[in-house]
Structures are given as C-alpha cells and as structure tokens.
Symmetry: C2
Subunit: 603 residues, 2 copies
Amino acid sequence: MEVTTENFKEVLPSILQAVERADFVAIDAEFTGLRRKETSRYCELDTIEERYIKAREAAKDFGMIQFGISAFRYIKEKSSYSHATFCFYLLGKTGDMLYYDNTSLKFLADNGFDFNKLFKSGLPYLSILEEAEKRGEFVNQALEPFPPSPVKVAEEKARKFLIETEEKIDALLEDESREVLVLPGGTLPGFFRKLLYNNIAAKYKNILIRSLTTDQERNIEIRKFDSPEARLKFLEEERERKLDEKVGFTHVIRKVLESGKPLVGHNMMLDLLHLIQKTVQPLPDTLEQFKNVVKANLPTIYDTKLLAKDPPFCVDIPITSLGILYSELCGKFSPPDFIVEEGYESHSLSGGGQAHDAGYDAFMTGVCFITMVKKLDGSNWKNKSVIRSKHLSQFSSRLNNMNSHDIPFLNLVGPDVQTDRSRIFCVDCPAEWNVGNVHGLFNMMKPIKIVWVSSTFLYVIPPEDIDKSGCKQYLKGIQASCPPMVRVRLYGDTLSVKRKSQSDDASPGVEASASRVHEYKRLKSVGSDQLSKMTLESPSMEEVPPIYANANDNGKRMKTNQDAATDGVFAIPDEWCEIPDREGRPHLVPLVLALFIFFKWFW
Amino acid sequence: MEVTTENFKEVLPSILQAVERADFVAIDAEFTGLRRKETSRYCELDTIEERYIKAREAAKDFGMIQFGISAFRYIKEKSSYSHATFCFYLLGKTGDMLYYDNTSLKFLADNGFDFNKLFKSGLPYLSILEEAEKRGEFVNQALEPFPPSPVKVAEEKARKFLIETEEKIDALLEDESREVLVLPGGTLPGFFRKLLYNNIAAKYKNILIRSLTTDQERNIEIRKFDSPEARLKFLEEERERKLDEKVGFTHVIRKVLESGKPLVGHNMMLDLLHLIQKTVQPLPDTLEQFKNVVKANLPTIYDTKLLAKDPPFCVDIPITSLGILYSELCGKFSPPDFIVEEGYESHSLSGGGQAHDAGYDAFMTGVCFITMVKKLDGSNWKNKSVIRSKHLSQFSSRLNNMNSHDIPFLNLVGPDVQTDRSRIFCVDCPAEWNVGNVHGLFNMMKPIKIVWVSSTFLYVIPPEDIDKSGCKQYLKGIQASCPPMVRVRLYGDTLSVKRKSQSDDASPGVEASASRVHEYKRLKSVGSDQLSKMTLESPSMEEVPPIYANANDNGKRMKTNQDAATDGVFAIPDEWCEIPDREGRPHLVPLVLALFIFFKWFW
C-alpha cells in the first residue's frame, strides 16, 4: 500500500498494528543520490572508519524519498508467512535543503518512481531528537510572540477595507450559528493583510486571525472565542496538532524501534544511516559514536546480502543484487507460502512488482530472508519463525560492506575485523599516469590489481603467491626504477600514519593490540563468503559460535561470482585478523601473557 | 510546445527558425530552490553587490529544471503579433549535483509541474564554455585510452563463454549481411564482461565492443569494420555525436544569444543568472565581472516587472506578480491581437494555461511586455514592433531588484544607483531580542521600520520627517540608554568600512565620487516606481532621456500597493543618488563643478 499525506492519518493505526504483530520488519529506502564528490567514491581498500565517513556523508547530503516497510509474521498452523507492505513517499520537513543527483533520479523515474506523487503528497518527518527539542521549546515559547500594534491608515481604500472588515466581524460575533469568517486572501494586497494582523487583531481580543490555504487558495480565517482562555487553549491544541503532523512518518519509525522487532534489509548500510539521520538523530562524527547510537536505539539487524554471499546460496546464485537474488531464490530454494495479512493490500509472490519501489524491495527482502533462513534450518523450519533460527546469530547486527577488498561487514555492536594489508603497495603518481604506466612500473609481478583512489594515488595488490617479505624485496627494485614524481611504499607505512591520527581519541592499547593480532587466512573465493566461519563476537549470546573460529583456507579456487569479477581478475586469499575488543572484557591473549609472566617470575 | 529528449532532435530546426524570425524572445525559468541558507535571504538593505552575491549563490546551488521561450514577431499588415512558445524540461549533464528545496518542488508540483517527465526525459545541457573545453580535450585525447590486455581464464564456465563468443564473432565476420552482434548483458557477470573488453577485444582488431542500453536493457554490441581506419572514423563520429547530444538545450540558447534578439523576462534576475551559469559560463565572483560577461555575451534585456512598477500601470495594477499583471493588463489595457505562429503549437490569450509552467510564463511575459509598450506608444503603436519603441530605452538592460528599500534595479551595462543611507540605524543586539525590545529602545521616534538581517543584527529606518542631523541627535540619546550587549550606530560607519573592503580591486575614485553625489528625493508611493524619471545612462544612445531628470517628490501620499504594504507600515521617501560611471565618460556634475571653479577663480 502506498502511503502519502492523502491517506496517512487513516492508515497509521493499521500500520502500527502490523508492526506490533510482526516477527520482523523488512525495510528498504530510495535516495536522491549516493555520492556527492568524487573523493567520496567507495574504494575497495577503505578502512571501515573511512567507509562509515563516506556513507555518513551520503546520508547527510541526500534525501530519503521513499521508505518501504514489510511486516512479516509466521503462521505456524499454515506453515506460511503473512505480510503487510507499505511504501511511504517522504518529503521531509518544510525547507529541507538536500542534494539530488540527476542521474539517480533519472534511474528511479525510469523504474517507475512517481515524483509527482512525492512532491505533491510526500510525508513530512522530524527526527525523534528534533521532536523532543521542539517540545522543549514549547515550555518557554509564547503562543503569540508579540502583541499587535495598529498602523496608521491614511489611504481611502484601506480605510474602507478596515470598516467593512470590522462590520463583518461584528456580525460574526453576534451570530451564534457561526464560529468562523473566511476572507478571500489570494488577491489581498500585503498592506491590507497587515491591517488585519495589526489593527483588527488589536481591536478584538477574542478572535484569532490566521492564514488558511485550501485547494491552493490563500484565504484568511477569523475565528471567534468565548474567552481569552478558550482562545489560548485553541492555540495550544493547534500547536500540538501541527507538531504531530510534522512528526509524520517518524510515528511509524518510532513504533518500529520501540517494538524491538528485528530489522531486515538488503545491502542496508545506507538505508540504516539515512534512517537514523532523518528520523532518530544526526549521525555522529565517528564510527565508535555511531555504534553507540545504534546500541541505544536500534533492534537487532540482519542484512540479506551477507546471507546471500555465504554458502550455500553464493554457489548457485553468483549475483546478489536484490531483484536477481529474489527470483533465483524463488526458483531454486522453494520459498514457503506467503499470504497477505488480512485487511492489508500488499504484494504477492505471483503478483510481481516494480523493483526499486521501496515497498516491493522491502517485500522481496523479507521473502529472500525467510527463504534463505528456511533453507539453513532444513527440515526444522516449520517449528518456528525463521527469526528464531540459530543460524542467524552469526549475521546479527552486521551490515554488508559493499565493494571492499577485505572487510566484508561492519559490525554494529562490537569491534570490526582488522585487516593485514602489509603486502599492498601504495603509489603516489603524477595525474597523467594511467594503467599502462602502473603496469610498466610493476612489470616484474603479474598479475597485479590496481585500485585507483584518485588521479594521483593508487594501490597495487600483488599476486597471492608473493608474501610479505617478497613484497619488501620487490619494493626495493621498484623504488630503484621509480621515475621522478612517483613514490611507492607498502601499506603498513601509510596505515601506521593514518592510525596515529585516527586513534587520537581512541582507547589506549590499540597500537599494542596489533602485535596480539590473531590472523585468519581466508579465501575470498565465492562472494565475501564463508562468513559463518569467520565470525567475531555476536551480540546475541545464545547460540554464539566460538569467538575464534578455525582458519579456513580453501586454496586456490578461481573467483567466479559477480564480486570476484568486478573486484579483479585473479583470486587472492585475504588475510583477516582480529583485535580484542576495546571495552576491557578479558581476552585470551593478555590472559595467556599474564600467566606466562606469572610463571616465569615465580617458578 | 513541450520539448524533451523525446522530440528535441525533431523540433530543434523549427525552434531555431522561430528565434531567427522573432522581434524579441520572452523567457522564464523554474528552479529547484531559491535560497539555501538563512543568511542568503534577501534583505531590503542589501547593497547591489550583496544582492548579486546572493542571487549568484542561488544560481550555483540550485537546478534550472524548466525553461520557457516565447518568440514574438510583429505582423504589420495584421496589426498583430505572432508567437511560438516552447517549454523545455531540463535535466542537465550526467552527475550534476545540485540542491533542491522540497518546499519549492512541492510548490511546482502543486502547480502541475510534471517531475516524472523531467527526470525521465529532461534535456541535457552543457555551458558554451564546457563545450569548448571538451572540444579542446579531443585534440590530445586518444579515442581508446589503453590497449586491452587479456586476463587469465581458469574457470570452466568462463572458458566456455570465451569460446562461444569467439564463434559468434567469427560468424559475424563472415556474414556480409550483418554489421553488429548484440549480446544480452543484463545478467552477464562482471568477470565475463571483463573477458569481452580484455580478451576478445585484444584478439580481434577490427571490431568494437561497447555497452548499449535499449529499453532499460543492458546489452553489449559488437560491431565489425573493414579496416582499423574505418573503426577509428566511427569512434570519432561517435564522440562528436555524443558531445552534440550533451550540448542539448544549449543549442537553443546559443542561437538566441547569437541572434542578438532582445530578451524579455519578468523579475528576471534569477532567470538570467541561472541561464548564464548553466549555459554560458560559471558566474564570476563580483558584480563588475558579471557585467562584463553580460556585455560580452547577452543582447539587450527588458524586465517587465520594472515597466509594471512604473506609471501608468502601477496606478491601476498594484500587484505586479506575473499572473495577476497578465490578467489585469489584458482586462484594462487592451492588448493587440495575438496569433499563433504558423506551424507551431502554442498558447493563446483565450486558451489559458498553467502559471509557473515556464512556457506559459514566458508567453504571459511577452504579452505583458507588448501590451505595456503598446500603451506607452499610444496611437503610434501600429507603426512598428514594440521592440523599437522609444519608451523602452529607459528600461534597457535593467533587472528588477526585488524587495529592495532603495535600489529598484540592477544596471547590467553601467554603474548602479548609489544610495544615501546615512539616516539608517544599525543595531547589534542579543539573539533573544524581539520587535518589542527594538521599539523600546527607539521609543522616541515613531513609526520606525525594522529590517532584521540576522537574530543579532538589524536596521532601523526612522520616520521620514527626521533628517540626517536629527538622526545624529537621536543616536546620542539612544546610545546613552542602550542596554549592555547592544550597539547602535548610523549606516554611514558600517558602509564606509564595507566599502573599503569591497573596493580593494575597484577602480579608484569611488570614495571621492560619494562627495559628488547627486541626490533625488523620491516617493516610493506606487511601486518602486517613476523609474522613467529616475534613469541613469542607457546603453541604447538613441532616445535616451536626459541623464539628470528632475527631482520628483510627490509628497506624503500613503503607499498602497503590494510592495509598500509588504515593505513596511508607513511611507518614506527614498533618497536616491547617483555616481558618474567609472568608465570615464564626461558627466554633468564634474563639468558644472569645473565651470564653477573656473569662473570663481577667473572672474
């Protein structure tokens, strides 16, 4: 069901009820753009902090113009899932000033997005923080800022207007059958308007004059009251009603967050950041602060793209974009039955829909989620809703980190995977350089992968069979043959410099932890895959797999999926490593060290 | 006629012809917003340079999404005007990143603007400067940046794909009846795509592989050639054709500018700035540089709002917004007959249209222009096209400067009016201050007019009966009673400080000219009116009224029009003054002064 200002009030109760009854809520959003500056383009070797900063910038710069919510519920007796899907058109608050990328909007228009509906009847929203601030301001804010003071009237026309208006108001005051008088305001000169708000308002204490826009006509309403108190009460109620209207779509999000129902999205980092920025509070400056905001406000989150990039799905479905994933899962992995929640219009498996409509995308996401978890649960799936599957814990509160060389996800509730990039070369070059120049410089190692960061900086990822010390050896040769204006070094150097500035306000011991790093060899052979074997701590403590999983190296299989193909031309094993979390929970490595020191000194 | 990518190619010749035949071209534009920051809000006491900076910022920040052109031509034998009107939907170039104000877009949508048409089929455009730069780049730019190098293929599926594709290409090369082979690309994994562009392209020299998007399908076209030269020629033509497509709407504007036909707009400062920014070159930093750009690129310009604010129109039509002006002029000032230019769809006087559609607005602007000039010409109007009226010279190349206290227009081709603001008070106050506090501080002078610039700075305009020395006297009393944190001074101080910084790179003699100022007492009684009596030099030297017109002071009539009413609550005469232009043409005042000194000394 599409939700706009036309039907919002009417359907809000049923939306809230659908959320209340749901097992989980699938979401999707559409934006006015993805990246404002060339320097904000995602780079495969972004650190996870850099990636957050880039995504945060997009969520601050661009509009969120559509939001889809699909509330799913397991009906055990029918072994099927009911769903109710809503597609909200979002305009935001008056005077919101955001960027649009005409290419993004063309893409949406070509996919059937109705921009006329958006701009005519899009819903307003305020963030929960903005709403609280407004309510705070009410306490000290007078309902009428300044008592009206009459202005001089010299001109005949104006005098006449005043007298006529006063006669009309006197008639209104005497007529018990009427509450209001409406004056046509469309062609009223501004000075006459001023006379109303100053001279008339000063003369009559128990009336209220306000502009009123109906059907694109600009009128002026004069309303009478029995007493000044009744007038003030009316003003207060109006203020409350107007704020309530401004909160708009956030009424729905507040309900979703307060209900604690898990959120499910597909490749949902941007969706989640936009959602927080627009309806919760401004996104904080650092990833660490962001995680605190998430912990304080959001329920558990699942990203279907992460599930899809894991076996068994990645084997059969190499492309994980939502539309293709949905049709492939429906074709190959026998989804359960879906029935439309009674009393709701919604999509259906057979009915089809328009991809990139946030409602349909949310629906498809929910179907993908259920179908994948059903598959993971095997024959047990009928016992309970998929949302209670033990297989979910390893995906809990992790966002797919798209187009990353070695960081497959952002961990919303704990430390992120630490990467070892000491084999990667960093190259500063003149702006005229192209791929040929880079291949020329690195001609002794083949095949290399080039990752351009800007026209004057790039990374070179060496072939997998060259190890760290090999890279150091090559570096000497390369530096010796470097043309002027070109500087080559290994990532470690850059990284340590960066880390220094980044960790200024981080907890102490980060540097030290690098030496305590626990490394995983992992083949990025099929998607950013085998996530299940690579898990860190999970926020859900039930069914958590061991903190340190077994290293997993499947050897030299060629990458064959979409990611592999777009990432590069050869398969490289990624080194993964992990640092203990910074919040002081005891970890194995320091414990072993302490025991070692203890025994060394006392035995 | 609406013009989009659907019909642009087809109708372009007839558009160019209509411009070629026209006497003048009326224009109008619609934008995605007007003002991004609160500090960019127009203030009645903006200097003309400040106003340019604010308008320039808007033209850089926001999109121009619709442009209307109405080409008018006088047909003497019928004593009527023909017209051809075009409404262009404008999307701009791929990846243009601009702001949108959701309130502005809602306003347009409520007035029938078709955003779906805009984003699906809006025209591209490049500025004339951008086009020249692109052509310059072609000289040194290789048609193909880097020769393809094959990548390793290990996986069975990929091997199979390569072999099958090679078979298809071999068949294409042998088949004389076919030029191209199209491969479905929508579901092609990225790595397979890479194989095409690297391995296949490296093997076959006389083919061209490129992606092809048709009907939202992403396909890959493989085209064969007889020789490498034929292939290069095709690439070159393609590059030229693509640039031509990107130039899009600018083809029309280039024609308009090159034709030298006068441009007519209504309150057209923003329209003109957007037009230059988007289709000519980036707007320069200063007003002076901007005037040079205008002089170098633009024909004569007339702003109908300035005509409408002058007698006799302002007397009968107090509101000068386009829609109201149009219907009032048609009702009260007997427009001539209008006939639709043969072969063109267009609007008509009787047919009506949708205000805020740029095409209809341009048409209404042209009708207003002709009707007003016809009135000014009196019984002579049938002799020639209005564009040759002697009454136009005083409006030539002047843009209405909306919502200004004392600067009614921006002079595009000469110096602007210099104002005397030495009676105006400048007040720095705490952010908590409101109108009541200001009235309290200025309680000895009534009525005052308050012009807020920010929450901590405002101007106070004293009643007209207090002269400069009176203001200085009051200042002492006000300063004596000033609460802490409040500072009051007269405008002169502020102004001289500002001037100093502003005139760093201005021509010398600006400061000196202030003492040579020639003042006009002028009643802002009906519009920013009686412009005809207040003229500076006009760029058209024929029929120019005397440079120094008689001072005109109609005394104490109350302001009754829209401007007066929104400006303030009382009528104040505005002081106008003028400095000689900076380009060295002799002026009367220095001449008179020189003669005076000459006679004083020698007689």
